[in-house]
Symmetry: C2
Subunit: 259 residues, 2 copies
């Protein structure tokens, strides 16, 4: 698994290109826009760039499709199978996008939010690997392990659960911060004041499970504070406070509440 072609020049492809170029032979970068392919290839010292799917180098060991979800199927059907390992990097696209088109194929999904402007180091990113058979899974995993210390097998169904968990962990947590911002802004108080506290809450997850590190009025079963908070809120914020508080209380045994 030495010679790799990267198809894409966007958010995921940019960080992948940097990781690949330093750990294997990145033979070529493809982008629909030649200037993007050239810029990314040049940035990582890759010798070839193209905007023509018919001009992909034919003899690479692996072809990594890191384009937008909608465009994966087009790339797959536009290029004939050459017997190499083909994989995509999308969390939400099933492996069967390759169905009938490739003998050896898989998915290598880096579970991180990437941006074209920032090269993200991949060593600590969790990659989830899938292959259309054991041998392909082995090769996808090996490719992942060149990039990261964390490569775990996960099929398309498990990726759906990971994506759902990331919605709770990131999108929904961020929305709670937006609600806190609304509460504070309305009273002339700075949301930034919460950032050190938020960071401390995240840092605890290095040592404890989130259930273990749960604190606050609900975890203490402190009904006096809970009632005073509910009286300060109305509408959806009150509904959200109540629902999350009940969900926390349910998981905290009475003896802990009594402390």
């Amino acid at each position: 698994m030495k010679r790799v072609v990267l198809i894409g020049s966007g958010n995921v492809a940019t960080s992948l290109a940097h990781g690949l170029a330093s750990r294997c032979e990145l033979a070529q970068v493809y982008s629909r826009r030649l200037s993007h392919a050239r810029a990314l290839a040049e940035a990582v010292g890759c010798p070839a760039a193209t905007d023509d799917l018919g001009a992909l180098v034919p003899d690479a060991d692996a072809y990594i499709i890191a384009v937008s979800d909608d465009a994966i199927a087009q790339v797959v059907s536009a290029v004939a199978d050459n017997g190499a390992l083909w994989l995509h990097t999308s969390g939400s696209t099933p492996i069967d996008v390759f169905c009938g088109h490739r003998q050896r194929c898989g998915v290598l999904w880096p579970m991180q939010s990437f941006s074209r402007e920032v090269v993200t180091p991949l060593d600590d990113v969790y990659f989830f690997a899938e292959g259309n058979d054991e041998a392909a899974l082995h090769d996808v995993t090996e490719l992942g392990q060149m990039l990261s210390r964390h490569v775990t097998a996960a099929d398309s169904d498990q990726r759906r659960w990971l994506h759902l968990a990331s919605v709770f962990s990131c999108n929904f947590a961020n929305h709670l911060w937006a609600l806190a911002d609304e509460l504070l802004s309305a009273r002339g108080l700075p949301f930034e004041a919460l950032l050190p506290l938020i960071r401390t809450t995240v840092d605890k997850l290095d040592r404890l499970t989130p259930a273990q590190s749960q604190t606050g009025p609900a975890a203490r079963g402190d009904r006096r504070i809970i009632d005073s908070h509910l009286a300060m809120l109305d509408g959806e914020k009150r509904d959200i406070y109540r629902l999350l508080t009940e969900s926390i209380i349910k998981r905290n045994p009475q003896d802990k509440n009594a402390q």
Copy 2:
């Protein structure tokens, strides 16, 4: 404001002692347990320790009460007013705990989660200051500015809103992580995989408001993904998903949803 007495040796007092000792004259540490007072005083190079509220040095400029919420009133009534500035460090205790007992008093609340085992640097912690009059607020603020770059005036009512916002931002966000952990553990997947993504979500708050940095299916108005997620969930997790998704959608204009 040079000579300070610290009353307490717990979670908040430990980090305060280190901050105070390096920036002013920390004259004495009090704790109900002499061994605790001595240990903390020694750790920060403070010359005096006591377990006797009657033996507090009488001529300090400020007395900082950093004990548990329940014990503040006892300390206040156990010691006669000496005309110095007296303050407590509790977010949830109103300033009127001093009512009738002190001429010059206030609150200096560091909004951070402290632990006795870890000395937290205070420079970046947000402190909220209150005084029983303008002069006291000035003195409390000055004391806070010796410890931190972020000192903001906030009265007891504003502190209640800050505390409520911290419940949303920390306790509730942490519970979403606990729910994500449950979703993943049930399928043999590691919660740790989410940590890089959670950290990236927090890091974005250095540059954007949480409303600006909101991403995910709800922010995109992606009904196909939202419906497939709801079909994967049941019970309270489904209720929480639905409520938070509706709350996000409400804040995202249609033109953004259409992207």
